[in-house]
Symmetry: C2
């Protein structure tokens, strides 16, 4: 029923972790089969979109039967690499950064912030919310030492590109960018930008259009 | 050159505030004309996408001349309704909520959090980071009093739907949802969900696919 995914559209990719979480809930509730309609109602996503997404993944439901919950679950677990832990570093322990340190992605057991940097932290390091936090002068050295693959960037705008340039010299592969700056990176680094002002402005624009 | 937008795709809509910000920068730097290539380099967005987006908006650049910066600026200002202030309330002053209160969208002069709610705040209210903060028992009354149109939801997951049901009885038009819950709302309320765990997991998934 399920085979290896090929080229999956970006919009589908963004929904995968959500599917995974909802299918886990249905599995935990003891459900064996699920229809795209049921998922649609639970997730507030159009059922045609769900069927199309699943077909990209190589999962095809049977009419009047739906999808096999355990099959989907194993597929998403494998696809999303939940078995492999990813070490995350946070750069910039300001208001937003310290909220992330305290929250620390509690629902993702295999994704943890294990290292942080802040200009107010000493060279020899300190513990903030239980996380080792160093002065940014030690970025290159500590990122190698902790085997960091992903960085969450919550520095002030004026420092964003400078910090990114230093990160580009390390082995990191991705940056979750919370600054409004469109940072420039080498090709091997992926950037996901979340600009909170833009999200708010977009929502307001959509409301005013109605 | 510019006329009223008709049906604009969602993906284009999301880029409008970004375009607006970058065009402001070019205008502030005294630039009179801008090509899609220049914008593309500054914004790290494909120039064909920019030209397509602008054509949806009814803005057409001239070959070898580009777009008129002031024309674009006025158009975006009008489209994004920057002249009209939007009152925003924040519900849930935990770690993430208090980061938002302190930050308070400083770059958006016409978008301000003017009211907050938290279960630890007294009925008679208190000031947190300069913002009037009340106990959630007064949601309906205070949202009407402050003329709130948009709510930022940073409550614990278990309270998300209950708070949303109360908001549905007020005159609000939009919710920026930072909880992982897919909240159910009546048709006249728009929801924009930002699930930080999902954003991080998506980035990691994309990295592991490479």
């Amino acid at each position: 029923m399920l085979h290896e995914p090929t080229k999956i559209p970006q919009a589908t990719t963004k929904r995968l972790p959500l599917y995974y979480r909802f299918i886990q809930n249905f599995a935990n509730a003891g459900q064996k089969r699920i229809s795209s309609q049921e998922l649609s109602e639970a997730m507030k996503i159009d059922s045609a979109t769900i069927r199309r997404d699943f077909s990209y993944l190589g999962a095809f439901g049977k009419k009047g039967y739906g999808y096999d919950v355990q099959g989907l679950l194993e597929f998403f677990r494998k696809t999303l690499d939940q078995d492999e832990a990813t070490n995350v570093a946070l750069i910039g322990v300001g208001h937003l950064g310290s909220a992330f340190l305290k929250y620390n992605f509690q629902r993702n057991h295999n994704t943890k912030i294990v290292l942080a940097f802040d200009t107010n932290s000493p060279l020899e390091g300190e513990r903030i919310s239980g996380i080792d936090t160093y002065h940014p002068d030690r970025i290159e050295e500590k990122i190698a030492e902790y085997g960091i693959e992903v960085v969450i960037l919550t520095v002030p705008s004026r420092s964003a590109q400078e910090v990114t340039d230093r990160l580009a010299k390390t082995d990191i592969k991705g940056i979750l960018n919370f600054t409004p700056v469109r940072i420039a990176v080498p090709e091997h680094i992926r950037v996901q930008t979340i600009d909170l002002s833009v999200e708010l402005q977009t929502l307001i624009y959509q409301i005013k259009q109605q």
